[in-house]
Symmetry: C2
Subunit: 150 residues, 2 copies
DNA sequence: TATTGTTATACTCTATAACTATA
DNA sequence: TATAGTTATAGAGTATAACAATA
């Protein structure tokens, strides 16, 4: 990430060192890179894994509600769900004439468990150095910052 | 960001609430959205602003070194620098037959100061609720997580 | 041989608009 | 009139490979 050359030439006067947003951005990049790489053996991207995890927690959730919860637009949910259905991981059943209830198939539950384990390992690898109390305080602070104070 | 429907159907059992990486990702999105919007009046993207700020701190920095410091590849630096030069904000001078030293023009320094103020306001708006000590601890923790422990 | 800067290009993610069918 | 899902498409941002000129 940081080269020797950078450390020589810029680190001492890094104009971003005092910017919280900058560190959030760089950490987010590291997190997403590691997670993408970790999930690749399952043939899943982070978005796929988040969909499986969320369906597993709320079986029967609607495609639209799921998209809203994850910050994925309707138009972009369509191909994501279609791919998971084509792989036999997700099943769909109409709740009325327009909404579709999503559930995991048996294979989907298996893949979801594997993904969940990978995510836990990934978190431990990246954040394991933090004491549990610090980790929880960090989560509470970040959560408050992105989804509004309380 | 979060809809009422989401709060009703998923919040209680949010499978991501305990994942630090998830909150980093969501906060990064909020940060980048706000920063992009805040810089738009100057006709700058966050990458442009980071380039101006960095050149201002290290005048004469090389295009390659700058890219490495900011995590932008050589191939992607070319059009970014070209656009800033076309706007008369950045000037370039060869240090040897291949490297180019970058400096801000007078207009570039003016735009850089404006960008710096916008960034400071943006940080205050998003993170002003944090006491200074908490903010600094947060920065130290995030920095350690993305660029290696010490 | 390795590095700088460039060009061309491709891939992913995300965004919008328009359409249908249902409520 | 508003919502669910779909389709098509456009725009960022980021990635690689190959090239010429230079160290």
């Amino acid at each position: 990430m940081l080269t020797k050359r950078y450390k020589r030439s810029m680190a001492a006067t890094d104009p971003f060192a005092g910017l919280l947003g900058y560190h959030v951005r760089r950490l987010s990049f590291v997190v997403m890179s590691d997670l993408t790489e970790s999930l690749a053996p399952l043939g899943l991207k982070p978005a796929d894994a988040s969909i499986l995890l969320a369906i597993s927690e709320v079986p029967g959730v609607t495609q639209s509600d799921l998209g809203r919860a994850l910050g994925i637009r309707r138009a972009n949910m369509t191909p994501l769900i279609a791919a998971l259905m084509a792989r036999g991981l997700v099943e769909r059943e109409p709740v009325d004439g327009r909404s579709q209830a999503l559930r995991l198939s048996r294979a989907g539950r298996r893949t979801c468990r594997a993904a969940h384990q990978i995510v836990k390992d990934h978190e431990a690898r990246l954040f394991g150095s933090l004491p549990e109390a610090a980790r929880e305080r960090l989560i509470a602070q970040l959560r408050a910052l992105w989804c509004g104070a309380p």
